[in-house]
Subunit: 565 residues, 2 copies
Amino acid sequence: MAESKFALGLDFGTNSVRALIVDISNGDEIATYVHDYRRGKAGIITDKKDANVARQHPMDYVEGVDGSIKGALKKATKVKGFAPENIIGIGVDTTGSTPIPVDRNGQPLSSSSEFKDNNNALAWLWKDHSAHAEAEEITDSARRTHPEYLAKCGGVYSSEWFFSKILHCLRVDPAVFNNAYSWVELADFIPGVLCGENKPQNLKRSVCAAGHKAMYNKDWEGLPAKDFLKALAPGLGDLRDRLYAEAYTSDTIAGLLCHQKAEDLGLKEGIPVGVGAFDAHMGAVGAGIRPGTLVKIIGTSTCDMMVVPDKEKLADIPGLCGIVDGSILPGYFGLEAGQSAVGDIFNWFVENLTESANQTQDMHRLLTEKASSIKPGESGLLALDWNNGNRTVLVDARLTGLIMGQTLNTKPEEIYRALIESTAYGSRVIINRFEEYGITVEEVIACGGIAEKNPLLMQIYADIFQRPIKVSRSSQTCALGAAMFGAVVAGKERGGYGSVEEAIENMSGVKPTVYRPDKERSQIYHKLFKLYQQLHDIFGTEQYSGNLHHVMKELLQIKQEATHA
Amino acid sequence: MAESKFALGLDFGTNSVRALIVDISNGDEIATYVHDYRRGKAGIITDKKDANVARQHPMDYVEGVDGSIKGALKKATKVKGFAPENIIGIGVDTTGSTPIPVDRNGQPLSSSSEFKDNNNALAWLWKDHSAHAEAEEITDSARRTHPEYLAKCGGVYSSEWFFSKILHCLRVDPAVFNNAYSWVELADFIPGVLCGENKPQNLKRSVCAAGHKAMYNKDWEGLPAKDFLKALAPGLGDLRDRLYAEAYTSDTIAGLLCHQKAEDLGLKEGIPVGVGAFDAHMGAVGAGIRPGTLVKIIGTSTCDMMVVPDKEKLADIPGLCGIVDGSILPGYFGLEAGQSAVGDIFNWFVENLTESANQTQDMHRLLTEKASSIKPGESGLLALDWNNGNRTVLVDARLTGLIMGQTLNTKPEEIYRALIESTAYGSRVIINRFEEYGITVEEVIACGGIAEKNPLLMQIYADIFQRPIKVSRSSQTCALGAAMFGAVVAGKERGGYGSVEEAIENMSGVKPTVYRPDKERSQIYHKLFKLYQQLHDIFGTEQYSGNLHHVMKELLQIKQEATHA
């Protein structure tokens, strides 16, 4: 019997990095280790003067590579049948857009003595919103001159994204901008670190990052036109030449594990390292994405992912976060949608409106238990899941929550259930949008902590989706997805796989429990969803007569004036 | 110097009766005593099989007369200058509609051995809703044949009112109905007890009770036509002859304190006892009502009262609870409006959605304190005050609450303040309705516990009303109002007053603190009120294009189906 082969997945999250070693024959996760970032607060460096700022220190990433891999290897060596030399490939996923200003050699500016104390020289974490004005500027400019740039990313360019952040840096800290030879996404930076080759022009950039965050598309010449960027700021146009012309899917080898790293880590030199991608996208692969299957990562917010063969003609789908060829699976359009808050809404409720004190998790359990005995429709409540705006399909961060139907007898568990239901309706709107554009959603695979821990929520989702929901077998689908790409870049010749589909077939899977829609409950929810849809359209869009869109906006306007009065 | 003269006010509430002895020269409240009802739960007798049932035992009333008066007299005799023989008149207010089935002598059926264990033979307390089907039947019938009957009482005949309850009794318990010679409102029963003359045909019935609850009006022949009642049920038509042809204002003497009662209580025989009225109406008098002044009794719900000289022509005002000539002041139309829940909404929030545990009052204080530092508009929240439906001006018990504008940062004190504001907007709608029909609201006099205890709420109300609000000097305006009518029925010849206006002038007053609208805050609230008005119209009425009226109704329909599934 042949020896087992293993792949290594590295998953760079917001507060830590996880290394996962997987038996590629069956997806068994034989060892995992989480390395916490050491700088800032749980890895995040903030700014007292601007609550929008969120940075990370590149050294946390560099240390995280070694720390997480060594930790996982140490645990794996205790597992029978494992040997470090049988790790045949490495895959990487990260948060994003998290761009880092680098010098000619690809070294972060923050490692130079000149910029070591300058937070603008750090990595600009995905959730940094300091570039909101620049995002609006880019959106406005694209709307006027290149509407096609926006058609693939929901119609609005976000403050969280690549060019917004760089343009903001150019405006507020020209010294950092001018000294940055290039800017590198974290997903591109890590393979460079592993391969000992960080020169920007030699990095193979991720099409996932490029397509979803930097308006890169083969339909035009890759990145946005030089003139477009120049019009925003001449320096931004010049920077384009020092970025990249081509971007790659993650089944492409980014490089080979270098001698130094191999020695440091105790791995074989020359192991192929795949081109990086974003966590949610590799998570979708770890969960077993395929045409007809919507993968839903449920956490504080959600990410809804689908794939469509790229030989099929695909219209621009209004309201989706992104449509990028190859961003999830090579040969398929990767479609990304999502809700700006899901778990966050439940947490908000429990932390602010219950007797939770310091027992938040207990209260979630208690409310879930009580909510389980409420029948659909029985509370008379209906809510909009917009406490953090609406990402898909309305793409409007300035929408707010609503709850109606309260009486003097309304109980907290009824509100809790109504909030769960509201997130399900919001998710159903996304499913319907996919289907309106010919993309059938046959089933849902859910992953994330809530999917594993809250059967009530899963059943409500199934009843409202009117589709079966499966739960990913793995609790760390992102790292698993990364490892699967490791197995793919290893290739058949090293005992790996010839395609991502093959890796999915062998390495991913779902739990035995399937949540199936109940006919009776679905029928009631169907009526309620029709009411939700009306509130959604009337408060969320301007296209209906008698719309109330302006009510939420005027409230925010009055709020802003009151706050600054 | 002449001896002081005193009047006695009796206030029959939901759980107890209060006696108040007042110096008529200046309104000084020299002694008060509260007698709690002893039967049922805090005086209320319920039915496990029907949550709508709420009855009271007439013996609690009879005992309450003696208990409360004796208690007050005992305290008063310790006051210098008081002598029982200087009590010159008695006034009575009660809850209503609280009708009691009585025999030929006016004795409650419940005192007969045949009916002593039958709850239908008890007093049917104002908040008994068991007659909801009969209320709909009466409303439907009046709409078809006598729309004028409804025009004076908000367009809907309520399940809480006189004929609904009697018709329900006829339907569910014919034995009680057939053995009842007549039905007597509590407000008419008590003067009978004091005067030792309860024969139905000898009672002087209250125009306040008759006009507001029994469709009595001089514009037609008093009570609804015999044919109208006969069409509902033949027995109801026959009953009309054993009710009353005439009803009286409370400055009319109902009778004189009888020998037996005078002896029992230690009062002078022959003191005049005034015709009774409802608590809120006499409360308005106790608070000093006059044209241009809206008296607002703020409790778990609110009652908003105004008076207009009855020589003026007054249109039917849609949405008001009642318009009755003389129901508050003789010679004036008494106008009654109100909100179905105010304090009840704050209590609901604190009891269900805060860490209040058993410290409800502490939590009200804490939230009020925190809410005080929030500026108008700053929370971005807007609510509809309909957790218990809307009494005025929509007259729709089947409306429900709504709150919007929530973010992930929304705090409980912000919601608490938004709920206070919502009740102020709801109240402003009532003020606007008065003014649309030419009745100017120059100022507001507030009374009730919340008015005395919550300066934040009072200031918010003043800012939203854009009118000054004063607070009644007395904490028991209902009992004070009753005593004032006592002073009026005593008349000048006994040292009392020649008119209710004179009594108001001398016996009522306000506290020194006046809540005046702040210009800046009023301007912000004016913008918010315009948004409230839109939600109010769109969710509350059917007359707007794009209305969402059906959303609340469908939710209730689904709720009802779900609850009975």
